[in-house]
Point group: C2
Chain length 578, copies 2
């Protein structure tokens, strides 16, 4: 009972042994993460089309709920770039940006997404996330990074463009080029350049100047804060807002408010599919980060419990003025590197952000949106990894096709079409590959009991015996292929008396394949050729024994191919092929 | 050149050796098939919602075109029950039955379907039909049989009901029950009972009375003709048409007319998906029949050339007043049993039907539609095979699920939804099964070089060595599963020094799985455990060598598991488990 409780509410587990040392490490990590999160939260809310405070609210209660229910000790939960983009795409279809309906739809999206994650966790369906292959995820993240960066250009240029796909965004930007505000451009380009410089060069420079590593690290992470402070002061000092520079403006000074997601059937119907998509993508991103960090400390995370933790966080976001959240890569790595030992670090970060929400929001009145756009651009361009195209091209054309299609479709038709097509293409490519399985004719490696492909190894064969190693599970997609192949091979050789199907690589025989095997058996029987099986695995044999096939088999089932060889070959006829 | 031509126009091949004996056999077969086809063609046209002559026209030119381009020597092409039902469902969505638009839409459907089949054939995509698993086809055919029989009840009762799904059909019948024409019921039920009796009992009875087998056979096949003649005479003699019995009425006396399919973008857009569905289902049905018959005579059919033959037949139907056709099961078996030797039998059948179209159509004026409905019901109920539910239940729950879902969805939501869901469910079940692969820990079978599951066989093991046989190709759906499993197994045993992954059943390693293997290698290296592979197949090894994995591997790749065992075990520590 207690164990079950601890399993489902991990906080009960780790809090028992919480030490003063862990507390102090967690506090330091929380301070660093808080400093980093303030501008990031505002920026991602902007990306999602929501008022800036929504980003802060989405980082407070969700972090605490994840600390209670999640299993990763370093994961930092909150708004992330890709999920913010998906939110903008989904909510933009049901409401106008800036309306009350838009904010309510974002809450609903978080609620649906949270509910779906919890359900997946309760039914232990975490494995479904595996349907997103690595190439599809890599392609999707890369394309999203490009899309997000492109979508922020309007803030850098100070124009009012729109669009959800790369062509739409670019066309809209060009159409609005006459609105360019050059002061905004100077701020935006300056901030972007500064942030890139900080990311690439500040740490080595500080280290050369003799700064201790931790300080160098904190200063580097505080780069966005410096950009925020600097540009805010510039806008305030030179009254640039009056000269057309867009600023954040009034942000309420408040703890997260109590909010209710809208649950009208129309709204739920329109947001259900996007919510599922956001859940799955958020979960995959979060679990990859959590697993990577856990492995570094020999800890394990439980994917099904992670679903519950992330689900609780999203439901929390829905009731406290937030929007969909997940475990973010950048913030989690910062948290981990800063020495966070337990989820308590997350809770302390929440406190820090709550203080910011109450006390610091007036300070960002003059913050230019161009600066926030710059922090987003610098953050997401690190997600763009076009090398994946090269790597998959070298390894396998099928994986390359999946990556390339996902990238192109995401850029060209938007995030939802992109990821759905990526999954579909991966599945179809897999089915295509297994539809024409590799079947090797094998012979005995001399001096061993081992059988290998006659075309690749020097092996012994016998003209009366055809041994075929079927390199694929047999199921409906390839059942007929095997029928045709055996028919062809047997009609080629006139001295053939026996065919052995070596089943060492056959992991499943479904009903369609069973019918094909029965057809093969009948045809070979009619031709006076024996059909034998060898090295049939336990689970496959169990299943075959439930049918008539084994009883009707015109031959035997051998434990090993060597046994089949010893019994079926004619001594003196053997020959060695090369 | 000549060979290519012969390959694509098989008539050039078989006609060279056409003998007098083959001619006489083909003629006899043609006479029998013609007698059978006259009522059947009229009936299926009725099922498709078309005037009766459309069924005759669809049997004339298409048969000739298939004789030229098809590869099966016994396949009889023409209207079949399932395709007629699909035609009614598709065309009913764009036009009202009985209008000129309805007939044009049927032509368009045949044209699109023919074009799609020819394209598939030219691009050699016949294997795509394998995506329809045997359970899905069996379930679909069974459900279609039930649907068709139900849809004919209105003709038996003489009421004007409608509906495309079983609930719709039944509700509509009940709503129209007050229109029942009792004379029609007597004719319909009488004809149905008579036809069932002929099918079941006539042949044995005739044989007992001393009739020669061929005569008994022909008389049995002529059962529908007897029903047609008998009921037509009854309607004519007793003037039953004036008492509300529906009759076929005027059928033009004409050879197939030259017609043009409508190709407006709207019509093509609305019919494209149904046309693809009809093509695929028609092709699968036709190829199964053709393969079964070909195997009986040690002939082979070429699925890609079959696509072209069927495509040509459908395009022919589109230009000669027909509707979609395919190779029918019943007619092909009759043709084969009657001794047809070449496709010329089909051409002679076409001549017979052309004569019927010109000379015999006035004779069917008084033919009651109830009789045609009776021939359809008797024909399709032989397609209904509910035993498949039992067989698949015994063999595998996954296959049972596919059959049951296909049957229920086809009956409940119609043919198109049914077959599409069936295919989707089959694919998802396959992915689910491969997502949690069987991984067996193996040991050496004493006295051999063969390794088997330690839980099923008495084998030798070594506490420092874990040998895992992975019983599945590694790809994105199961990549993470293996990561978790190895992590778990290795943290369990403290003396483990080496892990060998036996890859005899791994037929593919995609990019996602490669990344998982790299992660496993890294983690084991960190723990001081060696990772080795054994029995890696050629194609898999070729691919792995293109990546960094083999270079970075903290261990070796062994040709056989036995080699790995000899090198990695510590003599003296071995133990035998049972």
């Amino acid at each position: 009972m207690i164990d079950t409780l601890r399993r489902h509410i991990p906080v009960l587990d780790w809090s028992r042994t919480y030490s003063r040392q862990a507390f102090s490490n967690d506090m330091i990590a929380a301070v660093i993460v808080t400093i980093m999160l303030i501008p990031q939260s505002l920026a991602y809310a902007l990306l999602a089309g929501l008022p800036p405070e929504a980003g802060l609210y989405a980082s407070i209660v969700p972090i605490i709920l994840y600390a209670i229910f999640g299993t990763s000790r370093a994961l930092a939960v909150g708004p992330v770039a890709v999920v913010s983009l998906l939110t903008a795409a989904a909510v933009g279809q049901v409401a106008e940006q800036g309306t009350a309906g838009y904010a309510v739809a974002a809450l609903t999206l978080a609620f649906l997404s949270g509910g779906f994650l919890v359900l997946m966790g309760v039914f232990r369906l975490g494995f479904l996330a595996n349907f997103l292959s690595h190439p599809v995820i890599a392609g999707f993240i890369t394309a999203s990074g490009i899309l997000i960066a492109a979508s922020q250009l309007k803030h850098i240029l100070g124009v009012r463009a729109g669009g959800h796909t790369l062509p739409e965004i670019l066309v809209s930007l060009v159409a609005h080029l006459d609105e360019i505000n050059w002061i905004t451009v100077v701020i935006g380009v300056g901030a972007t350049g500064f942030l890139f410089w900080v990311r690439k060069n500040l740490k080595p420079t500080l280290r050369r100047l003799g700064a201790p590593p931790l300080l160098a690290d904190i200063l580097t992470k505080a780069g966005p804060v410096a950009a925020v402070v600097g540009t805010t002061l510039a806008v305030w000092g030179f009254s640039l807002a009056e000269r057309g520079v867009n600023i954040v403006g009034d942000v309420p000074q408040s703890l997260p408010p109590l909010t209710l997601p809208g649950l009208s059937p129309d709204l739920v119907g329109a947001l259900l599919v996007p919510a599922i998509l956001i859940s799955v993508i958020g979960f995959v991103e979060s679990v990859s980060v959590a697993q990577t960090l856990a492995a570094k400390k020999r800890q394990r995370i439980d994917p099904d419990q992670e679903l519950i933790g992330l689900g609780a966080a999203n439901i929390g976001a829905a009731f406290t003025g937030g929007y969909p959240v997940t475990g973010g890569f950048a913030r989690s790595v910062v948290n981990f590197d800063a020495g966070a030992e337990t989820p308590a670090a997350g809770a302390f970060t929440a406190v820090g952000l709550a203080i910011a929400a109450v006390a610091l929001t007036p300070l960002v009145y003059y913050l230019p949106t161009a600066t926030l756009a710059a922090t987003i651009i610098v953050a997401v361009l690190s997600l763009v990894d076009l090398l994946i195209l090269r790597k998959t091209w070298d390894y396998s054309r099928a994986d390359f096709t999946a990556v390339a299609a996902t990238i192109l479709l995401t850029l060209g038709l938007g995030v939802e079409v992109g990821v759905a097509s990526g999954v579909t293409i991966s599945v179809l490519l897999h089915l295509y590959k297994t539809s024409r399985p590799h079947v090797a004719e094998v012979g005995l490696v001399p001096g061993t009991q081992h059988f290998r492909n006659i075309n690749r190894h020097k092996v012994e064969t016998d003209p009366t015996l055809v041994s075929l190693r079927v390199d694929e599970s047999l199921y409906f997609v390839n059942a007929r292929f095997l029928e045709d192949l055996i028919q062809k091979r047997v009609t080629e050789g006139c001295r053939i008396e026996n065919v052995v199907l070596m089943f060492s690589a056959v992991n499943e025989v479904d009903y369609s394949a069973l019918e094909s095997l029965e057809a093969i058996n009948h045809r070979l029987k009619d031709m006076g050729v024996g059909l034998h099986l060898s090295e049939v695995k336990g689970p496959v044999m169990d299943r075959l024994e439930r049918s008539h096939f084994i009883r009707d088999l015109n031959g035997q089932v051998f434990l090993s191919q060597y046994e089949a060889w010893m019994l079926l070959t004619k001594p003196g006829l053997g020959q060695v092929t090369d």
